[in-house]
């Protein structure tokens, strides 16, 4: 693969700028958050050129940004953030991705490692049985066409109404688990058909349900606000998205917007950057359909939460009250949101695209739950299944610089296929077992593809965001057991 040899101008130890002069057509400079050590691997692929391409989008303000987990995507890089003016800018489905509202949800328990360890195998088996996972898995919640519209409109609220969880869960879900502006009429019949059998499924690929234990606490007060008291406390992390429904919405609208783009006289350097003015009929329709897919994903994570709770109560023979499993937070990392920011001294309404990036609002910021007003919004940053994950909180600087965004995970450093070559599921499972991590996968090759070697070290990624002042680390958690899709 060709190396990328464009200019990366050092701003400070964690910020590297691609000047506007690099390519004619760039409306803003690019900015990559990374440590010097990361630059070599970033240059190994064309992700930085994708940062450049995104800078061509009409109405983009500030910088075309990339987080330290940057890697090569389509159109946008993974880890890409771009804010465009609602007034005269564009929205691009490529800035959200195929898995709309792919995201993570964290729950805390009253259990300690020594209580869970002896039962981890039984617990994972229960989760494996009760949370449908794997290629083409179908859900156990039967949804009719009319109810589907309810899911698309109300998201996690629909799930709570059906008895899957409580209002407290919604309180600590981004957007309350229901993105406004959703209009099921803008979602194709095909997308809905794909969504029907998959409601409440985990899916495959890098999606998982992981039992974790707190390994380190960096900020006691913030951890406490999240219900995390000490090392060894058991947590549950759920990672999934909008399944086939979201993929179909993305595919449908890339096609629609490619055609619309010609009518609006917009030219972009990559087909996957198809876009239309935010205020155009096509742009508005996409955002209304995207909100539906986002809501579907929140409903999905809410169902999986409910079944996971059932598994815990069954395995431990305790009440949910005794076990805990209250939600810490749920956050999307593939989404576009209308938010307002000050740019060059002017308050602007912007369409913030986060493609593999997490919203990270600071303390006292509007629209974060009351519980977190004093500490900032929890940011959930999962690592690979062989290492660790982090929870951080957003900071002021993220609002000023990165449109309230930080990294979303470890970021891949080699292809799934390369990771798999010469590595077998059994080898990966054995290596993990040696570290005290039990892993189960519904798909053949599912573990090998997600082996630690395929990912950057998430600690380095989070460190860059922490040092750059975009967020502050609160805790580190180690995996104990993971069910992969």
């Amino acid at each position: 693969m060709a190396r990328w040899d464009g200019p990366l101008k050092k701003i400070d130890d964690y910020r590297w700028e691609i000047p506007r002069e690099y390519k004619s057509g760039m409306r803003v400079p690019g900015l990559i958050y990374a440590s010097e050590d990361m630059l070599d691997s970033i240059r190994e692929e064309q992700a930085a050129e994708q940062v450049v391409n995104v800078a061509f989008l009409p109405g983009i303000v500030g910088h075309s940004l990339a987080m330290p987990d940057i890697h090569w995507g389509y159109g946008f890089p993974i880890g890409g953030v771009a804010a465009t003016r609602v007034e005269d800018g564009v929205v691009s489905p490529g800035g959200v991705g195929y898995d709309i509202n792919c995201g993570v949800r964290l729950l805390r328990t009253n259990l300690r490692e020594h209580e869970v360890r002896p039962k981890i195998e039984e617990l994972l088996s229960q989760i494996f049985i009760n949370v449908p996972s794997g290629l083409g898995s179908t859900g156990k919640v039967k949804v009719g066409k009319k109810e589907m519209d309810d899911i698309l409109t109300n998201g996690a609220r629909w799930a709570v109404k059906r008895g899957f969880g409580t209002d407290d869960d919604l309180e600590v879900t981004e957007e309350g688990g229901c993105l406004k502006g959703a209009n099921p009429d803008k979602v194709s019949t095909k997308a809905k058909e794909r969504g029907l059998p998959q409601s409440g499924t985990l899916g495959s690929g890098n999606h998982f349900v992981e039992v974790q234990m707190v390994g380190e606490i960096y900020e006691q007060a913030a951890a406490q606000a999240m219900g995390i008291e000490d090392v060894g406390q058991v947590l549950l992390l759920i990672h999934t998205g909008s399944r086939g429904l979201g993929h179909q919405v993305c595919d449908d609208y890339i096609r629609t917007l490619r055609e619309a783009m010609q009518r609006y006289g917009i030219d972009v350097p990559d087909r996957e950057l198809a876009c239309a003015p935010v205020k155009s009929a096509e742009g508005r329709d996409y955002l209304a359909a995207m909100a539906c897919a986002a809501n579907y994903a929140w409903a999905n994570r809410q169902c999986i939460t409910h079944w996971s709770r059932e598994c815990f109560t069954r395995v431990f023979g305790l009440s949910l009250r005794q076990i805990g499993l209250e939600m810490v937070y749920d956050v999307a990392h593939n989404i576009a949101k209308i938010e307002s920011y000050e740019v060059n001294g002017k308050k602007l309404s912007l369409c913030v695209h986060r493609k593999g990036a997490t919203r990270a609002f600071p303390a006292k910021y509007p629209s974060i739950p009351a519980r977190y007003k004093e500490i900032g919004q929890p940011v959930l940053i999962p690592g690979d299944m062989g290492r660790y994950s982090f929870v951080a909180v957003g900071s002021e600087r993220a609002v000023k610089e990165s449109f309230g965004s930080v990294c979303h995970g470890a970021g891949r450093k080699m292809s799934r296929h390369a990771a798999k070559r010469g590595v077998r599921d059994a080898d990966v499972a054995r290596d993990l077992a040696a570290k005290g991590i039990l892993a189960k996968s519904a798909s053949r090759g599912g573990l090998a593809e997600e082996a630690s070697e395929a990912y950057k070290d998430v600690a380095e990624v989070v460190e860059v965001c922490h040092q750059a002042g975009l967020c502050r680390k609160v805790i580190k958690a180690y995996p104990m057991g993971v069910v992969k899709g």
């Binding site: 389509y74 059998p197 179909q248 053949r444 090759g445």
Partner: protein, 138 residues
């Protein structure tokens, strides 16, 4: 003749499919895609579906065709293994696809493919051999 090669991409995976003509290359691209999802040797031809796809150009037609098959997979859970392309122009495709309902107890199911993308998409002809390159979001 080799039907396809797997190509690597940091986060994802793709195929370059070959054919003596464009029809064969399109059929092999679909075969390559389902090979990433299951061991096709274990899959029978118990059922078939008629598929139509349309797009603005030849490249986009590859994406429409493959995404139509993925839609069928999600909705009906059919793993397809043989493709008869009945009609193919640069903007339209008609085909019969043959396969079997996925059954985890008999089929070795691998990772999923979410979508065929426009990224690095290419349809070309070199010394009489056609090839189709497509990257999947997985």
């Amino acid at each position: 003749m080799k039907r396809f090669d797997v190509v690597e991409h940091t986060a994802d995976i793709g195929v370059v499919a070959y054919g003596a003509d464009m029809r064969e290359a399109f059929a092999n691209a679909a075969y390559g895609m389902f090979s990433l999802m299951a061991d096709l040797k274990q899959v029978g031809e118990e059922t078939s579906r008629y598929i139509e796809a349309e797009a603005g150009d030849r490249e986009s037609l590859v994406v429409s065709w493959l995404n139509e098959l993925l839609y069928m997979f999600d909705v009906e859970r059919i793993i397809f293994k043989r493709f008869d392309i009945l009609e193919l122009t640069s903007t339209r495709l008609k085909a019969d696809a043959f396969g079997e309902k996925a059954d985890a107890s008999r089929h070795e199911l691998r990772g999923g493919v979410k979508a065929a993308t426009y990224h690095m998409l290419k349809v070309s002809k070199d010394r009489g051999r056609w090839s189709v390159r497509v990257i999947f979001d997985v």
